[in-house]
Amino acid sequence: MAEGNDRLSAIAAHLEAIARGDFGIRTEVGDKLDQVDGIIAAINMVSEELHAREQHRLELQNRLNQVERLALVGEFMASLSHELRAPLQTILSATELIQIQDLTPRVNALTETVEREVFRANRLIDNARALTRRPLHLETVDLAGLFAELFQFTRTQLGSQGVRLRVEDLSNLPPVRIDVDQFRQVTLNLVANAADAVVERYGRAPHENRRIEVGGRGGREGVTIHLRDYGSGIPKKASQRIFEPFFTTKHSGLGIGLSISKKLIEDQGGSLDFDTGPDGTTFHIALPVA
């Protein structure tokens, strides 16, 4: 009788737990395999099912939150881009006026840089605005060549922050099929984040680890680019949220760079993830081969 009461007490406790919303609980099924054990087995299965459905609901809720945030990003970008276009156009017009003058080669080169960067800024605005509607322009691309061009200007910028950029020989990687503008945007975003991480760790102090490394591996299945910084890594709590729109650990910045980057890479059939630890963070960009 005592055993029977124990089993009924266990069932009651289990049902109370379910009523509280605790679906992770399990009750041991006895060896008799009688009706009471059958009820216990059924309650265990119901608990598991409720637990699984609750997890699924939370995932959907999380996705919905992200979609709502991305919609906000879209609205924000539309407004911001409208505000930015005018000053950029003014800079461009002024640069063109300057170029009409008889300039030294050095000033000429500088105005060309200004012009190029204005075009780039415009493209970034286009990309950001078109997050949800811009069609992909997939091309077959040699990453070694693309990085050589891309990092030519980035190196100078990083140099002014005392950060070195080391790029492995990527000439053996197979060509990939990507949207070049979007990939460029993602890479520059990751490099900028990596530089911030290094500067935040070492300040102005010289150090051999004031560097960012870019490497890659690839084969028939795809290509993965690794971008490593030697910062302090991403705190565990933050690391679970860094791809959420508007989440940031920085004092400045909107916290949309990584969420946009992830979306852009995934739209191209790739993936973006990372490893992090006290000695830095490595982002992995997986891309489909051509």
Binding site: V29, D31, L33, D34, Q35, D37, G38, I39, A41, A42, N44, M45, V46, E48, E49, A52
Partner: protein, 130 residues
């Protein structure tokens, strides 16, 4: 598994193929089947057949089947590769409840029925066997 032509055994139980072309699964007493166990049993079946066969599953003294195992049985490619239809044979209240909940919650992708009579289970499997 007296009529089994060939069988395979593991800690979780035994799988055999009978002379009439029915796969037969028997689980060890007191086992609560989880995903790993489910995979192990289906892997044994894969050693016995290269095509989907009607299956007789003795729930016997099984104490339960975990959700991920039920999903695996109901939907996985691995199980579909060896299973054309399933007769669940129960002899205890626990087996009956486990079987009924499997049918209700998991909706397997192949015809599945619960029996308390082995003869009726075999007859149903054979009636639909080519």
């Amino acid at each position: 598994m007296g009529v089994a032509n060939e069988s395979r055994r593991c800690e979780v139980g035994e799988v055999g193929v009978r002379s009439d072309g029915i796969l037969e699964y028997r689980y060890a007493d007191g086992v609560e089947v989880d995903r790993a166990m489910a995979s192990e049993m289906v892997a044994l079946a894969t050693e016995l057949t290269v095509e989907p066969l009607p299956s007789l599953v003795h729930l016997g003294r099984v104490k339960g089947v975990r959700r991920d195992a039920r999903v695996f049985f109901a939907e996985s490619e691995e199980n579909r590769a060896v299973t054309s239809r399933v007769a669940l044979l129960t002899s205890s209240p626990v087996g009956t409840i486990v079987g009924n909940m499997f049918l209700g919650l998991n909706k397997p992708l192949f015809p599945t029925r619960l029996f308390t009579s082995e003869d009726k289970a075999i007859a149903w499997l054979k009636a639909t066997t080519v």
